[in-house]
Amino acid sequence: MKIRSPRYHRETPQRYRLEAAKTESGKVYFPPRVYYPGGEKAQPYKMSDRGRVITYTVIHTPAAEYSDLAPFAVGIIELEGGGRITAQIVDVDPSEVKTGMRVKVEFRRMRTEGDEGLLCYGYKVVPE
């Protein structure tokens, strides 16, 4: 599937800088939303780049865009101060990934797409 640049660049603040939103009650929404449940007000919130692995898997049969990377680890990461992301866990042998492992978010190249060879970036996590 080809990503056209408007669709890609809309997500830049989130993928490049982990920009989220925090509501008055302290709940973190990533990405920020147009409307928050209960009509709560929210302020821009930059999520921490430190967190820990809640759960993970090692993908052996990826979608076409990631076929060059397999096998690779992907997990749900809970970030310090709130917010959860799904991210690839890299710079570590997938067999050494563990639940509870502390990780740091890094800015990485994800893939190239489309006829124009659009370079796509985003976040991955590495062991801290």
Binding site: M1, E11, Q14, R15, F30, P31, I54, T55, Y56, T57, V58, I59, H60, T61, P62, A63, A64, E65, Y66, S67, L69, P71, F72, V74, G75, I76, R84, I85, T86, A87, Q88, P94, T99, M110, C120, G122, Y123, K124
Partner: protein, 386 residues
Amino acid sequence: MREVAVIGVGIHKWGELWDMSIRDMFVTAARNAMDDAGVDHIDSMYIGCMSGGLFAAQEHLASVMADYLGVTPAAAARVETACASAGLAVRLGWMEVMSGLSDIVLVGGVEKMTDITGEEATFALSTAADTEYEGYNGITFPGLYAMMARAHMEKYGTTLEQLSQVAVKNHANGALNPEAQYPFPVTLETVMNSTMVAEPLRLLHCSPITDGAAAVILCPLKLAREKFKDHPLVVITGSGHATDTIALHSREDITTIKAARISAEKAYKMAGVGPADIDFAEVHDCFTIAEIMVTEALGFFEPGKGGPAVEAGETSREGSKPINTSGGLKSKGHPVGATGAAQIIEVTRQLRGEAGKRQLDNPRRGLAQNMGGSGGSSLVHILEVR
């Protein structure tokens, strides 16, 4: 409000059907359902299909199918809630008949999944998750359920053997279903040594890629009593539908499927029954961990006891709560947009006493649970024989 009966069911042999188009499959299942019911027309129809566009490069299925089924100008709509699309079609048809708007409504689903490569299909399926914040980061559907499996295993001690026994049981049932894609038994050893897909899930913990369609005819119970007397009367007594967050990582607890629980609670309330009153069920075993988590969410077993229940044989055909007598998605196949209707067909056949070699002993009340995505939507229907 009118009570709604299931008067016809239609399906065909599922598999990698390279000689059949998306319209061939749906029309075959739909004609079989109309013949089973003995109806020569329909007032309207709802067609579940997750992605005619990505899988078969065909949208506007409402008109495609009304045309090729020869029922134009009948009203028709294609509806979508990912892998729960046909469950939604059933619910919408049930609502239309119950309300009095129409009398004879065809509900069903179809998916043509083998016209594209496996990698393309993996991508198409991944769009049922959060494309920008899950799929973009490389997670696949097996991967999402694998992460749920790991969390369930770490919290409750659910074992790989228990995950594998779901597949062994469902293949044992599917071996007795001539319409199943893979109608043969598998051993525990085969499951546990199959190709790794997304750790800890292996190939035989996953439902397959399937071409197939299924269809059901609904009408008011009163009309069924007067005109459609060829089969024991099966009535939809409860229907429930619920949603949850699109991304798995947004949920507070990933060891339970909240949408399944809430959709079941709504259906139980409507039918005036509880989990103990259900004789058997077809549930959405897209991955074997899903069957374990759903049987817990439906209230059949306490949280964390779904795995031990499979191990003890409680969910086998001879057990206290038979699950997926059709073979489930695992053995029967999983053409994603059609699965919810096929579940209604199996429940109806069991209640009619028409389930052949896999027939249970005189069941009176069955349940069908159909799920979209990683639990972002769930539909539950309760059916009873009158």
